[in-house]
Symmetry: C2
Subunit: 631 residues, 2 copies
């Protein structure tokens, strides 16, 4: 029997109330049918998240900067391995709480449309092609190729979802048909065709007036009919109550729940589906439709091996969590995601250089983790990583608060101390940027300015003041920006000897960054987002038109373009034909290198594909870069 | 000429407005007289604070637990050395901002009357004798014995100040005469007699109806006439505006400022003294009285060497900051402040033991620093310290939030992970307690329950739930409580194999704790506060009567008494006479040991003195323990 047939048979034995109970994320046990309880709410954006110990990989946006879909697939496989190990152990103890299951609400393949969006760092950036390839790799790695599914992946948030966070429960987006298909839905369509994801999560917002989790257009017409999706759909957490409470498209929760299930939303993260009995009683929902949803859910659970004794993943031991191989992989991904934006030759640093590490992000643990993270047993901050690698003196001062202006309240007076440290050094490594309290999800980031979003992409004034003081000293400066999104680095590009972008780099981040700064590895990351020169370059945040946004459509000149990224050597690209390129490392340093293939017209600059490879010094390689936009 | 004479001469050249300007904490320069600007607001409670890099020693309450006044004097001398080094460097750059000066608002010698007081961890505990000896040692170490004063110490908060934090700007205390003299003022009197402190800071509250910074009774009658204080008095920050705004004992700020200066408060931390011109104009304050205040301030500045070229401390280089010797001292103090409360023989741990380190304080940096701290360049958390010392496996899980109940919001589900880690280990090291966001100063600690104070001395329910789960496993458990105050450990005393109290232990804290846990050093700390068995043992928080409070007067049976503290050996005390004792280390382990001398009557148990010494295994020493209450 197929998983689908087994699900049909099992669900046929359930009463209606039993069926309805299984559509909640915290599905209770049905002992008479041998069905254990199961909690569907689980996270693994960049490692098993919110469930205690786990290898914490770089944040999604950082992994995107590696421009390496093969590496992404390996990472996702490791995440699934750790997820299985935890699930096995939890199950032994009879635990079925949130964050203990084996389906996951990742990857986030929304388009990072505007750099002010707080959740942008959960995504793979602004480009549909990059997003689609990395999302596909993540799904394939997570779900595995076994007899059973290793873990369920969830494409989210479907669809047209990218802020503002404070409007997400009421917002209605009406993108042009072209933007809808070529930008907002494109990666979903690609991933579904190339990776068979188990699940899709509906977003909070509305599209063309329909709430995403209750949209026949999005869920039936597009997702299932056009894209061929055959899995289950889950609501974002609380999104269905929004129908009546915030979107006001239904009169009450029973109507909202019915609309969602009738539209094809099978599982409710939130509590709207406690009203499903009423929905059925009122004739708003048929048992056949309920059965369809529950069958999809049980097909998934059976396919995960939850009802069999021969699942190949049941023997994965807890000892794989943060094993040396996984931690080493996290470090490698972090290395590969560092983006060298400018270098006048100061990098790599001679290990014997006396340096001063300055800035509020230098010794800050939260920037390693970003959001939706697990708990590592070892954090290596930038300062700690540098100290481990350096052979010269390493001075240190935070120099300022991340965003509070010096002198407020009883804050420390720390800038002079930073100046002292800088003066005593030969080179200053200035480590600034954002942190997850300054950009994040509604209710999760506490910047108090925009509910998780940023009002400006400039660095905060507290950091700018410190920056000016340090620059005024005239010392050589390596500027390291740690953030999950583009910030304005126009001044840095002019005044600093080197500029390095480090997206939230995971628990081993400091070690990986030091590997790059001291030349243990050549940087090979590329920007997955455009670094605009100023706030003035940005259309209104609420505007979902792609006109003059992102590398593909932006008409202006950014400080650093999408795809920009230097190495410690020179690699020449010689295109033999449209898809064949010869890469030659003509320098003296080994490096990884991502080659990007574009279609450039007067209207747009479209990324068609990319491929990462490793080139020893002097080595040439000829390879094909597939146009992934044709399928 | 004496410093006093020079001050008189210099102040005589000032106009009245110039004099008044010098009574503000941010005293401006008077270029025509060659007087540079100076900011009097500087902190150094347990290391130079809020001024960037510094060696971060254990919090004051932890240093108190070492019961070692000689060590305290050494620490204070090192703090002054680092303060001078920073001051020298700041001065070179022309910086005169807050936290850059060389007078300090420390030590805090208030009596830790009630364990719920949020700022209690800034003190030396609940006992006047211990507080007096340690305060004296701190002042002597900080001020030095040179031609110039190395740094100015400030006894604070004078007087009768120990919460509640949320009432501090309005509270009026009327202690009995005995409590006033034997408890609240005693340490101030002792320190003034034995260490000549430069400064005393007036508290926010009132005593007998008079606001402390405007109290002729406290500042004239007691402080200067009875105790013989000859230095300057500073207000707590904002305390003088409280006179009219909150205490309502004056009608406006000009009256408040006049009352303060007339009472002998020479310097204003805050901005009330901007009204002094008005005070003088209204005839509320004479120029003679102003001159007296300003002369005291300039005597201090001149005595600090600010107007001379031959100050022996001007050559202290910046390189002393966090030099290896200072960091090693911080680690030693942290070792000596660990208090072993119970041990069934499980400690010291065999380094090869496979352990699980569990609890929200295990890998938490904030508990190393506590409040009023500098910025270290290296933090060693408990987990990191243990990992460095261990030769067996070290599992880790935080297991719960410090106080948020699991399951709220989108918090991580972490308890099962802790259970898994515990099950895999031979011994569980459970690291719980409080953190500086749960106990602290008004506006500074964000526990949202009591404005810095605690409502209960029980551990939060989130931690109790984890504790119950771990204990239920039946594994050997070493319970490490990290906090700045007493918490209820009654259950732990029954159920755990060992109980260790670690007050906020400074930047090297994790390393120091590991030194103790693995037996590199024997613990030798003693409790500077009573660990009550329950909230029910506490009189109302607002009650300033000492009846049935603290070791001296408490009638009940605490879980662990003030002065309690075990070692890894056995030391016998044989009293030869009232003040002479023979200490014999009859075990096989070297240890430091503090001997305490009490006077015990049916009414009270009074600490008369104490002395710490080092005893090799088998060694006996006879020494005298002075009765310091007689002077």
């Amino acid at each position: 029997m197929t998983f689908k047939e087994r699900a049909k048979e099992l669900v046929a034995k359930m009463t209606l109330p039993e069926k309805l109970s299984q559509m909640r994320y915290d599905a209770p046990a049905i002992p008479r049918l041998g069905i254990p309880g199961y909690n569907w709410w689980n996270e693994c954006l960049h490692g098993v998240a919110r469930s205690g110990r786990a290898t914490v990989f770089p944040q999604a946006i950082a992994m995107a900067a590696s421009f390496d879909d093969e590496l992404m697939e390996t990472v996702a496989d490791v995440i699934a391995t750790e997820g299985r190990a935890k699930y096995n152990e939890y199950r032994k103890a009879g635990d079925t709480a949130r964050y203990q299951g084996i389906n996951f609400f990742a990857p986030n393949i929304n388009i990072f449309r505007d750099p002010r969006w707080g959740r942008g760092h959960e995504t793979y950036g602004e480009d549909p092609t990059l997003t689609a390839k990395l999302g596909t790799a993540f799904v394939n790695g997570l779900q595995g190729k076994g007899k059973y599914r290793k873990a369920d992946a969830t494409l989210k948030h479907y669809a047209v979802h990218s802020g503002p966070e404070d409007l997400r429960h009421t917002f209605d987006v009406a993108p042009s048909e072209r933007d809808l298909n070529e930008t907002y839905l494109w990666a979903f369509r690609y991933c579904i065709k190339h990776s068979d994801p188990s699940c899709v999560m509906g977003a909070y917002n509305r599209v063309y007036g329909e709430p995403c989790c209750g949209s026949p257009f999005l869920l039936e017409e597009k997702l299932r009919k056009e894209f061929g999706f055959s899995g289950y759909v889950v609501s974002d957490c609380g999104a269905i109550c929004d129908f009546n409470e915030n979107h006001k498209v239904t009169a009450n929760a029973a109507e909202s729940a019915a609309l969602a299930v009738n539209s094809g939303c099978d599982l409710n993260c939130g509590n709207a589906y406690q009203w499903l009995k009423t929905s059925v009683a009122l004739g708003l929902l048929s048992e056949e439709t309920v059965t369809r949803a529950v069958e999809r859910l049980f097909e998934a659970r059976i396919r995960l091996g939850q009802f069999d004794d021969d699942c190949e993943y049941d023997s994965i031991p807890y000892s794989v969590i943060e094993c040396p191989e996984h931690v080493a992989l996290s470090r490698k991904v972090a290395q590969d995601s560092v983006v060298l934006l400018k270098n006048d030759g100061i990098l790599p640093l001679d290990p014997k250089t006396n340096i001063a590490v300055i800035g509020p992000n230098a010794d800050e643990r939260s920037v390693l983790l970003a959001n939706y993270a697990g708990t590592p047993t070892e954090y290596v901050t930038v300062l700690e990583g540098i100290r481990e690698a350096a052979q010269g003196k390493v001075g240190y001062a935070p120099g300022c608060h991340s965003y509070k202006i010096q002198g407020a309240d009883f804050d420390a007076t720390t800038m002079p101390d930073a100046v002292i440290a800088a003066k005593a050094a030969d080179v200053v490594v200035l480590v600034m940027g954002l942190n997850p309290s300054m950009e994040g999800e509604q209710g999760d980031a506490f910047n108090n300015s925009a509910d998780g979003d940023k009002l400006s992409i400039e660095l905060p004034e507290s950091q700018k003041a410190l920056y000016r003081e340090i620059i005024a000293l005239g010392k050589p400066v390596v500027f390291v920006n740690i953030s999950g999104s583009a910030v304005v680095l126009a001044d840095q590009d002019k005044a600093c000897n080197a500029v390095v972008q480090c997206f939230y780099p995971g628990a081993q981040g400091g070690r990986a960054l030091a590997d790059v700064l001291y030349g243990k590895v050549s940087p090979s990351g590329r920007l997955p987002v455009t670094f605009y020169a100023s706030d003035d370059d940005l259309p209104p945040f609420e505007d979902y038109s792609m006109e003059n946004r992102t590398n593909r459509y932006f008409k202006g000149t950014p400080t650093y373009a999408f795809g920009h990224g230097l190495t410690y050597t020179e690699v020449t690209e010689t295109w033999v034909d449209e898809e064949t390129v010869t890469l030659s490392n003509v320098g003296n340093t080994d490096t990884a290198y991502s080659v990007l293939r574009y279609k450039i017209t007067p209207e747009e600059k479209q990324l068609l594909g990319f491929k990462k490879t490793f080139l020893k010094a002097g080595q040439s390689v000829t390879l094909k870069v597939e146009d992934v936009t044709k399928f």
